[in-house]
Amino acid sequence: MTTMVLAEGDKFVAPGVADFFLPDIVPGVTKPMVLLVLSIVIIGAFFLAASRNMKLIPGKFQFAAESVYDFGRNNIAREQIGAKDFKPFIPLILTIFCFVLVNNLFGLIPLVQFPTMSHIGFPLAVSLLVVYPVYHFVGFKRHGFVGYLKHQTVPPGAPWFVLPLLIPIEFFQKFILNPLTLAIRVFAAMFAGHLLLLVFTLAGEFLLLNGGLTVIVAPVSFAFALALTFLEALIMCLQAYIFALLSASYIGMALAEEH
């Protein structure tokens, strides 16, 4: 009957969507907006400081920046776009990767502790206003208008009688669904992760303050919150990687000769 005992006292209110809408810092300026600007300052300062005094034998700082660059260049851009025409896209892919990564990691940094990407507007803007126009633009430029539409919607080797079914599906996926899923993926992962941390931390606090006898399980809740923080750190890096990887893969698919 522990649940009944708990229900009689102060009731535990599970955290929900409302916890993501913090009060404005200045009217009209919210925390995610400030964090967004902060992330750009951090990334800019990091790369400027690392590239200002470059040496042939890199120091620790330069090595860190070069590793990030190398990861974005070789592991994401070159793998997905292909060795022939990946060069012009390196800055874009690297910027997207760093941007999403830093904004995600804000969820773990003490005092900041809010992943910017847990508001759908931010990843949606990156995918809809940056990635989507870029990959369709380079596709149209490479294959021509009709050629690109055919390239994207008609899979080679498909028998003619399935084409009426296949073309609308492919069109829907390539032109409508892709930018949405790209944004929803990172948004939902950040939202879910942050909510999960909130649930365990708030439950631990609640059990500690007015749990009665159940106070003994409060440390378990905090331990879970700690373990999930590490899982969250992994997922944050993973989502940034996947966001950049899929952006590069869309560009690569748009540029591919014949798939």
Binding site: T181, F187, I242
Partner: protein, 85 residues
């Protein structure tokens, strides 16, 4: 108080959040199986050909992202379904 009465007091007429939670649980089965299959293939592929690990993992993360989004869309739908409650 009988169990039925407790249930009746707990039930305040809106079962949408509960249904949405069950629905999300069901929706997560498919992606769960999918992600499991992807990484089991990577493991057995790596066991057969350890030098192909990098290529396999790159492919795996892309496919993982495609499968994973189904579960995440389900999660978003859960919040849409419970929004009015």
């Amino acid at each position: 108080m009988s169990a039925l009465q407790i249930a009746q007091t707990a039930f305040n007429g809106n079962i949408n959040p509960g249904l949405a939670a069950i629905g999300y649980g069901l929706a997560a089965i498919g992606p769960g199986i999918g992600v499991g299959l992807i990484f089991s293939s990577v493991i057995s592929g790596t066991a057969r050909q350890p030098e192909a690990r990098g290529v396999l993992l790159g492919l795996a993360w892309t496919t993982f992202a495609i499968v994973e989004v189904l579960a995440l869309i389900g999660f978003v739908v859960y919040f849409i379904a419970t929004a009015g409650a």
